[in-house]
Subunit: 206 residues, 2 copies
DNA sequence: TATATACGGTACTGAGCAGTTTCGGAACTT
DNA sequence: AAGTTCCGAAACTGCTCAGTACCGTATATA
């Protein structure tokens, strides 16, 4: 998005943009492991098996590289089309809990942890992080709950906006601050102990 | 807690420990404004109108100073004795929302934001931060909900443990990631849109 | 083939900062 | 008063790191 591209590269060797993804992935890894301030350009270059100069040929600064890396995380999120549709809200919510999605969410949360300190200094990064990490999950919850309203399973008065944010925010709190794992058990207890009661359903309603 | 104090200071000028609080407060301010990595000892010393050497005479390192500063935040928290007792759960929860407590919580959250990146490197800091910032509020919620169960207002099956964490975690999510204010309106909507429905009460109850 | 550009690698520059030292003065003990 | 320790201020040391410059090599155009 914020790549360097100042005019007329006609002659000579062309930039190998297929490496961009490797570099951005390496940046995300280092970001998750050390945080923004602990992350160095040399670490990222080494991880991507690239030269430091190569990174600076493509991004003007460390900050821009990180912003691009975070924005790129957005890909691979849930597509709103192929969501589970089990017929019940609880069934849908539980169906979202898959080993793959747990690991993916954990990775994203570690990236988020590394970004927090930057968010107040770079407001656009806050937007990018929210759009890439939190919003996709909240959005899925909103859709599933709206479906439940449409089919008459839960009250249309339910505060979808607030309820959709519960699992992302509880998960981020648990990862960022408590440093405890967000596992299947925790997510189920959230569904049965908070979400289901809040929409007026009992847990056993499959 | 981790202060320097190696033996036998008998003669000469005595260390003025009344300044400790000023220095720790200054550290918290800088921490909230710039985050751990952006914070420098010189900033803290200047803010506290103290010499840098004075800080190093009292704490062995920047990390120890911060740990002490965070631990000191714990004071000033709610005492579990003088909690509101309005007779209804909603009344109690709403009574907790006072201008003072909002400002106080906001300040603490900004400190937390500055600490996040450190928490994985310093596990004891994670405990201190949780004990000083999150736990006091969660603890209050637990007590109020337990009272509601005891007086038969809500079901004893309510998942107090999870519900007590909702407002702290939603507030931290909102501050740390969304960068939106945690104001009275938001807290009320949390009570009426999530907590009350989840314990089986309607919002208008008191 | 000649020219131009990207590549990985390494060395360099300049700034910022944790932590130390030094100093003149102030405060306490005897 | 003499001796001791603390104080704030400022200079200093050593290291890390963002960003730049340069190298020999690889790959593209003409």
């Amino acid at each position: 998005m914020t790549q360097i591209d100042l005019s007329t590269p006609k002659l000579g060797r062309k930039r190998d943009h297929s490496r961009d993804a490797d570099i951005l992935d390496a940046a995300l890894e280092v970001l998750a492991e050390t945080g923004y301030d602990g992350m160095t350009i040399d670490m990222v270059a080494a991880r991507a098996k690239a030269g430091k100069a190569t990174l600076y040929r493509r991004w003007p600064s460390k900050a821009e590289l990180v912003i691009d890396a975070v924005a790129c995380m957005k890909k691979g999120a849930y597509s709103l089309e192929d969501l589970p549709d089990t017929g019940t809200l609880r069934g849908d919510l539980v169906a979202l809990i898959k080993p793959h999605s747990i690991v993916d969410a954990e990775k994203k949360m570690k990236v988020m942890a590394g970004l927090i300190s930057m968010l107040s200094r770079q407001p656009d990064l806050a937007d990018a992080a929210n759009a890439a990490i939190i919003e996709p999950r909240a959005s899925v919850n909103r859709v599933l709950m709206q479906r439940a309203i449409d089919r008459g399973e839960i009250s249309p008065e339910s505060d979808i906006e607030a309820l959709a944010l519960i699992s992302p925010s509880m998960a981020s709190y648990r990862t960022l601050i408590l440093k405890k794992p967000v596992d299947r058990e925790f997510l189920i207890s959230l569904i049965d102990g908070v979400i289901m009661p809040a929409v007026g359903l009992r847990a056993r309603a499959s």
